[in-house]
């Protein structure tokens, strides 16, 4: 059990309202001046199964969760069976399971209940039953205040003053003021309920200035980054974990004026997007792996006709339908190679909220500057976790790289695909001149007209591919976090960052490690890593996939690169801070 954080897991079946409890607690905690991070697990079905809303509390900024928790709350049996083994030694379990009988035998097959009795005893875990629905019924005639009772009770266990959670509850129900008074009663009832359980004490520094910090999911911030970048149209077909981007942009469309179209399928979504970008507005689409496959022919089109395109690939665990509501980072190879033929592209990978905000802006910047498709990788872990932070990172100025004004008066159709040293040719928008062109997916010559002349074909192909060289030069090297002189370097990308950096903040021996973080995945910059290799550092790889996809890409570039260790995880779960802390501590 980490002393740097406290973690609560609210668990139950889909549809039991654990998210509401979680959200309320999370906001109240942050209003109290704590820093939080919230992580969600849920199955791919609408009701039933087991799911959890886990809140980490600390006085450090967090971007990861523990696998273990200090306080487990269970609203249904399956969740109890499943999550009990995650309660840390000395922890507490609160449940509402009538006549729960602890299992006392060893499990015989995979997935079966553990020997619960023994686990509780061995780990000195306290457990208490609260028949919240019955209590709600007996007090107010109906069971619906059960979750509020539990919320009050949890708050009490945390040792926080009741006022804060009351005010958060009022905010939470502000659109239904009529139900607030009874809920407040239920909350107090829960708070004042007697208990055998020990009371925790959140032993973290409160920061008053944190009270008006934000709590947002990665997908919210991704959408906000795109809005910041001037997105005017969003096209998508629902697919977890990208759906919440669609939901958010649609919900706020009256405020933003963004045109939102839920397309008939992913091919349509990406074709609408490239059509809008061709005409000159900023538009994007988001999907997950399966939908991305369907979009891949259009990536190749974008590469050929040199029309900017931004596609978000929100990763979950594959292949096939996989674990649709779980996380993963197994689509890097796909992002780098999808789409037939050869064409320049940029692959970015978001790692947290700050990165989501900046990467979406950069995606449009690079897509338009280089007239290429840009793929932005994110993960369910980033998109659906709730981050607590105070300041949005910088907004980048918007540049369009289009001919206008005087330049338009002298432009000629043949300028559109001019052979240039950088590979970038002038671009002007439909309607801005009577000098028109053909954005031709057939191999073409200067104004886009068909060409099958070998010499022209080579020149045009090389022109397109040269953009890759320029692009690579322009991209930054990966950032090294931690002790820059450390002996052990971990290399990773995506949500891994949060867990590694959080772990380094919790261990005894942080000076031994540094973490090299990639956000610009293709084309790769490898100077910094190369230097580290040359200096003889021990380099290890950490990725959310089986193959070590980034590792392979790096090895193709840096012959001398050997990995001391490979931390690869591919079971739908993110890296947890406690598993990394033990890893580091063991070194």
């Amino acid at each position: 059990m980490s002393t740097k954080r406290f973690s609560i897991k609210i668990t139950g079946a889909s549809g039991q309202g654990i998210n509401s409890i979680g959200e309320m607690l999370a906001k109240a905690l942050k209003n109290n001046g704590y820093k939080i991070f919230a992580y969600r697990e849920y199955p791919s079905l609408i009701k039933g199964g087991w799911s959890s809303y886990q809140i980490e509390i600390s006085d450090l900024e967090l971007a990861s969760s523990e696998e273990k928790c200090d306080l487990l709350v269970c609203l249904d049996r399956e969740s109890f069976y499943h999550y009990l083994p995650t309660v840390d030694a000395g922890g507490v379990v609160v449940h509402s399971l009538i006549k729960l009988k602890l299992n006392e035998t060893e499990p015989l097959k995979s997935g079966a209940r553990i020997n619960e009795k023994k686990y509780l005893e061995d780990n000195k875990i306290q457990i208490e039953f609260i028949d919240a629905i019955a209590e709600s019924k007996s007090k107010w005639g109906k069971g619906i205040f059960a979750n509020t009772i539990l919320t009050g009770f949890i708050w009490k266990l945390l040792g926080e003053p009741v006022a804060e959670i009351e005010s958060e509850l009022s905010t939470f129900f502000k659109n239904k003021p009529e139900i607030i008074p009874t809920n407040i009663e239920a909350l107090r009832y829960g708070y004042e309920r007697t208990t055998e359980l020990k009371q925790f004490k959140l032993d973290f520094k409160k920061d008053n200035s944190w009270q008006d910090s934000y709590i947002l999911s990665g997908n919210h911030v991704l959408a906000l980054g795109a809005i910041q970048a001037g997105t005017r149209a969003y096209y998508s077909y629902p697919m977890t974990p990208a759906t919440s981007i669609l939901e958010y942009i649609a919900e706020t469309s009256h405020q933003t004026g963004i045109l939102v179209k839920q397309a008939e399928d992913e091919i349509t979504a990406v074709q609408l997007t490239i059509g809008s970008m061709f005409a000159g507005t900023r538009a994007f689409t988001a999907t997950s792996g399966g939908g991305f496959d369907l979009m891949s022919e259009t990536l190749s089109l974008a590469g050929m006709i040199e029309t900017p395109l931004v596609v978000v690939l929100a990763q979950r665990s594959g292949p096939g339908t996989g674990l649709p509501t779980w996380s993963g980072a197994g689509d890097l190879n796909l992002a780098v190679n999808a789409g037939h033929g050869e064409f320049p592209r940029l692959v970015l990978a978001i790692s947290d909220v700050a990165s989501a905000f900046i990467m979406m802006q950069l995606a449009f910047e690079f897509a338009e500057a280089f007239q290429i498709p840009v793929i932005v990788l994110t993960e369910k872990q980033i998109g659906e976790s709730l981050y607590n932070f105070k300041k949005f990172p910088l907004s980048l100025p918007i540049q369009r790289y289009l001919l206008n004004g005087e330049a338009l008066k002298t432009v000629k159709s043949e300028d559109r695909y001019q052979i240039t040293e950088s590979g970038i040719s002038p671009r002007w928008l439909p309607g801005s001149s009577e000098q028109t062109y053909d954005a031709n997916s057939d191999e073409h010559w200067l104004d886009g007209s068909d060409s099958e002349i070998a010499e022209q074909n080579i020149q045009m192909y090389e022109k397109r591919m040269r953009k890759l060289t320029k692009l690579q030069k322009q991209l930054p090297e990966p950032v090294l976090y931690g002790n820059l002189d450390a002996e052990n370097i971990l290399v990773g990308w995506g949500s891994v960052k949060g867990a590694v950096i959080d772990a380094l903040a919790e261990i005894e021996n942080p000076e031994k490690f540094a973490y090299l973080h990639y956000e610009f995945m293709f084309p790769l910059r490898t100077n910094k890593l190369n230097d580290l290799v040359k200096k003889g550092k021990k380099i290890s790889l950490i990725e959310g996939n089986y193959l070590g996809q980034l590792g392979k890409m790096l090895q193709a570039e840096i012959p001398e690169l050997k990995f001391t260790d490979k931390l690869l995880k591919f079971n739908g779960r993110p890296f947890f801070v406690d598993e990394l802390s033990s890893y580091f501590s063991s070194k």
Partner: protein, 295 residues
């Protein structure tokens, strides 16, 4: 985002592209291009104010034989890419083109959904009843049993009457013409341009190379113009559906159905008060207000 000095009327030659046509002699696509240009000229729309989206197919090989802002995209995808462009800038005239293979095979989903979505673009469907560019395989519009490339016994599937298909989807505008009648094609293309909504113009297109069954004369003998019928009511969907069925004896052409019902964009509640096009609105978004909700 419109560049033209409208004082100078648009001329036929404005659309002239020096590239040499590569269609077969007597291919119906020649007539379609001629009618297309005539219609655009008659509507006084210059190349600089037109966006055209070509499919992959013989029809699409016309993309570099005309002027205008053009995209020659992917097979089956002319409609959605055109729609995306149109939504970004409605000041330009957007036209999509596709073959019967593109529209009923690879991309039939887009046709179905464009009709129900009422996007305000014109779609010209070159129906030559085969996959011509890949050398004459059967499309959905190929008659059952008609021997063709890669199909020695002819297709066993029922053939789709394209106009019946379109009319079954409850369109707001549907016209049919024949590649041998430049006047009528010009007229229906003009009507399609003017219609506010998704306008489908099916052109029965001669393909002397691969469709030897229904050539120029064959059609010539059978087509008639519904506007010449005394009592034809083009706002009557049932009537249109009935008249469209016959593809053997008497083939109805002209604007078979038209009933405006507003277009997609104008139905969007959140765009009601905007006077600008999306293409004109690209600037840093105001996220301050949005962020307040997350404190």
């Amino acid at each position: 985002m419109m560049n033209t000095d409208n004082s100078k009327p648009v001329e036929f030659s404005d659309y002239y592209n020096p590239n040499i046509y590569t269609w077969c002699t007597n291919c119906g696509n020649y007539g379609i291009h001629a009618a297309l240009k005539r219609a655009l000229v008659a509507e006084n729309i210059s190349p600089g104010n037109t966006m055209m989206f070509f499919d992959i197919g013989c029809n699409g090989n016309g993309s570099d034989k005309i002027l205008g802002y053009r995209m020659h995209g992917l097979h089956g995808r002319a409609i959605p890419v055109a729609v995306g462009a149109h939504l970004a800038n409605r000041k330009l005239q957007t036209i999509a083109f596709g073959g019967d293979g593109a529209s009923l095979n690879e991309g039939v989903n887009h046709l179905v959904h464009a009709i129900r979505s009422d996007y305000n673009i014109l779609f010209i469907l070159h129906n030559n009843e085969n996959f011509a560019l890949t050398k004459g395989q059967a499309s959905s519009a190929t008659e059952t049993g008609r021997v063709c490339d890669a199909c020695p016994d002819g297709p066993v599937e029922s053939s789709i009457n394209i106009m019946s298909f379109i009319l079954a989807m409850n369109p707001s505008f549907a016209a049919r013409s024949f590649s041998g009648d430049i006047h009528q094609m010009t007229d229906v293309i003009r009507a399609g341009i003017r219609h506010q909504g998704f306008s489908v113009v099916e052109i029965m297109q001669n393909c002397p190379t691969y469709n030897r069954y229904s050539g120029h004369e064959w059609y010539q003998k059978r087509v008639y113009d519904v506007t010449k019928l005394a009592d034809y009511d083009k706002t009557d969907l049932k009537a249109a559906q009935n008249i469209a069925q016959d593809l053997k004896e008497k083939i109805a052409t002209g604007v078979l159905y038209e009933k405006p019902r507003g277009d997609f964009y104008s139905k969007l509640v959140n765009r009601k008060d905007y006077k600008t096009e999306l293409v004109e609105e690209v600037k840093a978004g105001e996220i301050g207000k949005l962020m307040e909700a997350f404190r």
